[in-house]
Amino acid sequence: MLSLDLAINAVVAGLLLGGFYAAVTIGVTISFGMLDIVNIAHPAFIMLGSFVAYIVNSNFGIDPILIGVVMAPVFFLLGMAAYQIYFYAFEQRGEESIQGLAFFFGLLFVGEVALILIFGVDYRFVEATYIGPSLHFGFVDLPLRMLIPCLVSLLMLAVLQLFLGRTFIGRAILAVSQDRLALQLMAANPSRVKRIAFGISIATASVAGALLIIIQPVEPSIGRDYIGRIFAICVLGGMTSFPGMLAGAMLIGIVESITATFYGPSWAPAVAFGFLLLTLAIRPAGILGR
């Protein structure tokens, strides 16, 4: 007999977790869903964001979310630089996808190993006033360390959605994701637009990384668990749709949470990946369709 309040708490935790997962995935929805760039190294940028938050927080005591937001422009520039390399090495040459994949795979790996060399394999965490206390509604617990990242994530999603829909550059990004030729005819340079978009995608990693280290202590190899999650959510959400991605993130969050609660955390990594396999096998267009 399943304990009802345990189950409900698991679902609530899953929803909060899912909200956070949306922050993690939004970058890939932009780079892969919209720009067709197979950036599987996104988790490495998120880990970088986490460790940057860790350094500044542990040395200066500044709030991690603030760090994430302030560092976002730096990550934006980093993303633009990464895109330049990618563009000259691959897009211009029209190389086969294996080399592009290998490039990002190498980047992911180098990122992780570099972090290990600098920080070692110990878990790192941040300090903030909202890590620890929880809100209580009856038997439902809402840990602030999960609630706040979830809210920040939703905020970031909303801001990006507005940006893409209302600003010129945002709409140019949407256009380039649908039709490169049309964009060229509109006298906008596709690769310039893509560069900005990729920069934005990496900027989200700065915030996502800060949120991550609030939710849980991090160590360099955690990034790997996120590859599957990110792509599972991206595919589930239909690749380009923000609402779809959010729904997918919530779904995975809930399933992971319930699995961890009732079957133990050692099974959790398999959940997202298992979901991914199932989605790819049954409905590659995602739950809300393309």
């Binding site: 996808s97 294996i98 290998a102 190498g106 180098v110 599957g228 398999a270 298992g274 396999l277 096998a281």
Partner: protein, 315 residues
Amino acid sequence: MGTGTFWGVSLFVAIALLVLTRGLIANEYFFFAGYVVLQYIVLATAWNILGGYTGYTNFGVGAFFAVGAYSSVVLHKLTSVPVPVMILVGGLISGILGFGMGYLTLRLKGVFFAIATLALAIVAQTLIVNWDYVGGSRGIYVIRPQQAPLLGSYVQYLYSLMLVLAWAAVAIARTIERSRLGLGFNAIRDDEAAAEAGGVPTLRLKLIATSLSGALMGMSGAPLPYYVTYLDPASSFNLSYAVNSVAMPLIGGMTSWIGPVIGAVLLGTIQQLATVTISSALNLLIVGLLLIAFVIIAPNGIVGLVQARRRARLR
């Protein structure tokens, strides 16, 4: 050189290498390191059959390798069989896993296929981590038999087996390269729709590629428990196997059997030296950086560079 001749010549080279190294080299460490390099020749060659020849990037190398290792653990616990039998069994089970993976991922292309392979690896690792019979996450100790079947130490014996396996893998790769199967693989890589329209049974060939590649990887992992004597999921499923299996063919050259061999010998040796002289984490960094550098500067690998220079000289 015809296929039959190649098998003969390469066998001769392999036996010569075996006799020379075992006869002349006294330093035990050579065989420890040599085992690893030969193991990577098999892994890189196996990866390249699916990756370089057929165009499907497999990131789940760790799964096939570890399944081979763990199948040996199970056999070791159940009964006592010679290591060559374990190699065959490991190959069979990993081959079936490869077939299953191919079947599940039939409709996936490019990055979706690659991520799916990674997903499979995580799922496989999670299953092993939760399987107490083989030690779960704590790992398991494996005791080597007292007596090595041939002359010399047990490690020398494992080294010899791996040399034979490497020879077989290379000969198989080259045979495929020159056969109709290899042409079919290349056609799938270059344009799958056109291959299918041209009469190539793409689904069947892809299943052959995933099964064969998986089987060879499993075979390379089968002797591992006796080599390391302590096996745990974290190290046997390690992502470094995937990175190396991608980096070695890419740096060596993905279009020919010799590319993975060059890449494996080069990177494998560098890593063995680096692990001893610097830290092992730094050596992984070197592999990753070399991978990135080569993929940007010389995407066709060393073989590609040599071919380009040859073409330039002809003009």
